[in-house]
């Protein structure tokens, strides 16, 4: 298989010929951006890993419905954002009923992030981002870390550009306040 295929060709190859190698190449192309988005949104590796896997499993099932009207990256981020927000809801419900394992995120982060400096960075990032409401956090991360345009974020979150700008502005102000103490 030609490894220099465009993502549109990879998607067509997977849909039309069920080529698993094409799907693996799509995973390799997007795994890092999806994982980092999930990690920033969720704050720990175990949850980020789980949701990243769920994103690609969903993608495997739903890729045949992709219409090539939007960019594949936007479509994948839409799936990711929905799964992340659903995961946060489930986590809140679990926490409410006392089923959430509070210990697991610390131990799992220590497995994946090996040196102390990186562990501290991750903890600080988590302490700042997790204080934002989910929707604001989502907009802030998509804009600030994933470098997406407001038009793309509007497609992903199904929100108007004006509302997104306001949301981002509020998030930035809160972040400024929180970062002053760091």
């Amino acid at each position: 298989m030609d490894y220099n295929l465009s993502e549109t060709e990879l998607v067509k190859l997977f849909i039309e010929k069920k080529d698993e190698r094409a799907f693996t190449l799509i995973i390799k192309q997007y795994q890092e951006s999806i994982y980092w988005h999930c990690l920033r949104m969720l704050g720990n590796h175990a949850d980020a890993d789980e949701v990243t896997q769920q994103v690609f499993i969903t993608l495997y099932k739903k890729l045949h419905t992709f219409k090539f009207e939007a960019k594949l990256s936007t479509w994948i981020f839409t799936i990711t954002s929905n799964l992340v927000l659903n995961y946060i809801k489930k986590r809140k419900i679990k926490a409410f009923f006392g089923f959430d394992d509070l210990e697991h995120d610390i131990s799992d982060n220590s497995d994946i992030v090996q040196d102390l400096d990186n562990k501290m960075k991750l903890e600080k990032l988590k302490s700042v981002l997790q204080k934002l409401p989910e929707k604001q956090r989502q907009v802030f991360i998509l804009r600030n870390f994933d470098d997406l345009s407001y038009e793309e974020i509007a497609q992903i979150t199904n929100t108007s550009v004006g509302a997104l700008k306001a949301s981002y502005h509020h998030a930035q102000k809160k972040i400024m306040e929180l970062m002053k103490n760091e």
């Binding site: 698993e20 693996t24 995973i27 390799k28 795994q31 890092e32 994982y35 980092w36 920033r40 590796h45 890993d49 990243t52 896997q53 690609f56 499993i57 495997y60 497995d111 994946i112 992030v113 090996q114 040196d115 990186n118 960075k121 991750l122 600080k124 990032l125 700042v128 804009r143 600030n144 870390f145 700008k165 981002y168 502005h169 930035q172 102000k173 972040i175 400024m176 970062m179 002053k180 760091e182």
Partner: protein, 191 residues
Amino acid sequence: MNNDLFIKYYDNQLNDQEKAEFEAKLKNDQDFKLAYDEFLVIQQKLKNFANIYINDNYFVTLPVRINNRISANNKKLKIVKSAIAFSFTVVVVFFISLYYFNVSPDKIITPTNTNSFIAESISTSQQQEQQNIASNINTNTNINSEKNTSTSKEKIVTYSALESDDVELAEQDVDDFINNYQSVKIINIGK
């Protein structure tokens, strides 16, 4: 107040005129520039927090783990589909057999029709027993005919006995038959 402006400039939300005014102020107003530099330091600090190095091996093994999960899901899906197909087949065969053996649904015991079903079963078993006795008579005595009279509790049994022993045997069997009917007429019509 400045923060709002800094955020808009940093996020490229200012129009050309506002942008030009902002940049002019940065050049001319030292305090404004210091405040904006402080804003940029915080932004850089945040980006630095997000710049985390994780175990390289994670992204090497991730596609393999995803593909393994997809394969496992596909296997589970096949099992579920097979189970659904099997259950559907069983249900279809059941209903076809109900139709084929002409068993009406009210013959199926349910909590509402249990009593009627038992009553019907008893009457069926009694009829079966009577038929058995009649067939016994047949084997011994060549019964010629068996008629129901106008009342269902009366039975007329006619037989032809060739020998006297046969008559006795027939009468013994007919005794059992009598127990099941209020009135039985036995007529030996001879040869």
